[in-house]
Structures are given as C-alpha cells and as structure tokens.
C-alpha cells in the first residue's frame, strides 16, 4: 500500500461502533481524516450518500468507496493493512476466527441490553439490567485468565467489546448497579486495554457520555 491512500472516517463521538473503527485504524497506524457527523440532530449529505441503506455512522471511506457496519469495517481494516509487523485482529486459524466472529456478534446485543436501562422505564429497565450483567459475566468467563480476548494481544473481540467501557458509568448511574462489583475481572481487562493509546484516544470521557444520554432522554421525553 505504497501509493497515497485517502481514508476518511465518518463518526459521532459517543458511538461505540465508531470507537471500534477508530481503535482498529490506530492499531494499524493508518492516517485518516476524522469527519464528525451529529447523527442526532443533523445527518449530512455525505453520510446519506455514503450509507444510504442504514444512514448510520461509522462509515469508512477508502479512496472514495464506503465501507459500512463497524464489524465489517474492522475486518476490512484488518485485511487491507496487513504485513510489516502490523498487529492482526482476527486469528489465522479458521476455527478460532469462527469463535471470534461468534463473540463479536454476541457483543452487539450487549448495547441493546444497556440501552433499555437508559431509554426505557419500569420493568424494561430491570430486564435490561439483568441481561446486561448476565452478558458481561458471560464475556468475563470467556476471557478467563488471558490478558485479552485475543490472547497476548488485543484482538477482534477486544476491539468489539472495549468501547462499551465508556458507557459503563451511564449504565451504572441509570441502573443503580456497579459493574465493577459484578464483573471485576472484566473491568480489569478494560483498564488494561485503556493503557493502550489506540483505545484511550478512541473512548470518550464516561461522564461526557452520561451527559449526552441525559440530553437524549430529554429529547425523547423519558422522565429523568
């Protein structure tokens, strides 16, 4: 990949999906232009043109061609920027790859469980809390004693999951739970990931995320 590459990432800072793309790009040392799109208030023409099907961020635009859906983007980055001692996200063994894909797909559901905690009321919140804690505990058991889900190094599943760490404070505040108390090893893992520049530069301040959600709740008319 010697010739000049134009890489643009359309994103909105609170999006855990966008954080996945940012971590992947940073891990591979890819230079790119970050274009912020306020998807809550103002979806731009560029976004609608580049992702007409879902109209969502993140979108990776590589030499003018769009790649959409965060896990598709991470796999694309993994495959395209390979070699030269660059990190590899997905294992080379097909069985291990299938496991990684399975868990990344499972992880997408975790955001939906968490969402119930801050957007719903009453029984739905309780349901969301249980589903969130159960799924995080399951991920914790999958981690076992490894430093990362990828083994010795950050891998595909780590990249898929760690963005939610910036949302933990929000879940805790609205759900009145302590994720650290429920899944201490998982929180240890997240803090370990946060020591990496690629991760701590991608994840926003959890208090900012919480304030963003307070704004969203007002906007959607959910009682605070």
């Amino acid at each position: 990949m010697g010739k000049s590459e134009e890489v643009v990432l359309l994103n909105y800072w609170p999006s855990p999906y966008g954080m996945r793309a940012m971590i992947a790009l940073a891990e591979k040392g890819v230079q790119y232009e970050y274009v912020s799109v306020d998807v809550v208030n103002n979806k731009t023409q560029l976004l609608l043109q580049m992702n007409p099907v879902h109209k969502k961020v993140p979108v990776l635009i590589h030499n003018g061609s769009p790649v959409c859906e965060s896990l598709v983007i991470v796999q694309y980055i993994d495959e395209l920027w390979a070699g030269d001692a660059k990190p590899v996200f997905l294992p080379s063994d097909p069985y291990q790859r299938a496991q990684a894909r399975f868990w990344a797909h499972y992880i997408d559901e975790i955001f939906e469980f968490g969402r119930k905690i801050w957007i719903k009321t009453g029984e739905e919140v309780e349901k969301g809390k249980k589903e969130l804690v159960d799924s995080l505990k399951l991920m914790e058991s999958q981690l076992g004693d490894k430093p990362y889900f990828g083994g010795e190094e950050l891998g595909y599943v780590d990249i898929a999951l760690v963005p939610y760490y910036s949302w933990f404070y929000t879940y805790e505040q609205f759900g009145n739970i302590s994720i650290e108390a429920e899944c201490p090893k998982l929180v240890d893992w997240a803090k370990r990931c946060m020591k990496k520049e690629s991760v701590n530069k991608a994840l926003p301040d959890p208090v900012k995320v919480h304030d963003f959600v307070v704004m969203l709740r007002k906007k959607f008319g959910v009682d605070s």
Partner: protein
Amino acid sequence: MAEEVILLDTWVSPFGMRARIALAEKGIKHEHREEDLGNKSDLLLKMNPIHKTIPVLIHNGKPVCESNNIVQYLDEVWPDKSPLLPSDPYLRGQARFWADFVDRKVFDAGRKVWATKGEEQKSLMEEFIGHLKTLEAELDGKLYFGGEKMGYVDVTMVPIYSWFHAYEVSGNFSFESHCPKLVAWAERCMQHDSVSKALPSPEKVYQYVLQLRKRLGIE
C-alpha cells in the same frame, strides 16, 4: 485426514438451509441430523449452550454456531471448490455488509410477520417488501449477488425463497409484482442442485406456518 462433519439442523429453518447449500456447493461429505426444537438433543445443548439454536456445524468434534459464521468457516476451510467470498477485501466487505443486511433487516422483518396479524402484520409485510426492493436494487442486473456465480450473499438470502409462498398466501399478494428481478434471481439459484435440494417445498413451509400461528394463538 478423515474429516467428521455433522450438521445439526431443522428442515424448515432458512438458517439451516444456508449451511446445507454451502456444504453441497463445496461437495463436503457430512452427516445431517434433524433436531426437534421442542425436544432439543443433549448434543445441541452441549454444542451451542449460549443460544441453543440450530444450525450447528460440528467439525471433528468442535462446534461452529450461527449460520453466516458456518458459511464463512466452510469457505475458509474448503476454499478450493465454489469459493463464496470474493478475494478482494473491498468486495468482501460489501458481501459481509449485504449478508448482515439480509440478517438484520430482511430475515428479521420476515420473522416478525408471523407473530402478528391485521394492521400490524400488514405494516411489517410492507417493511419486509421494502427491504427486498433494496436488495433487488443491489442486484442491479447481475446474475447473482456474487456476480457470475453464486456467492456468500446468494447463499445467505435464497433460503427465504422457500417461505415466499407462505407470505403470498397470508398477505394475499405476489412478490413477482413487487420485485420481479429478485424472484427471477431466486429461480436462477433454484436451478442449482445445491439450492433446490436444500430448500423444502413451499407448500410444506406454508403448512408449517399455519401450525405455528395456531400454536402462537394468532389463528
């Protein structure tokens, strides 16, 4: 090396059909085991403890779960015959995007149709047809989503064709009038043995749906 390949499946599942098509396309010898989802086998519960669903591919004793995952796995382990994913990373990204669209939009809307009736069902049916039209536009004059040959997206999508008759009778409409090119594409896929042998008869599927809706207390 002797390969042991087992597929845990049920005849009516479009997800199971994906795995069947991929196995047939690649000529992979395997044992097909029919599961009764009302009485799941110990093997299924052991091999897919998280979701307890089919299909599950068991390769030399090790399970691979989730249909799109199984198809990609088969493509990587048996790459020489009927490659399903393109070799170019950008085209691979496109294929993965559309397979995700088939799962999260098409199949999801299609599934919800059966759990509803009246106005709600009509609205979901319209949503379902909307997604089919989006896919039809993506086909854009190609023979298959994979180009000249069937590929990953074709395998992911074509199983729902066996359910079309059930949708048409329930909703009193014809897919041909909404997305004729998509119907033509499905019929083209059905010319392949790997597809026609994997998909059950539309009439059998319709009878299954009637029973399902009775069980759900909808009809």
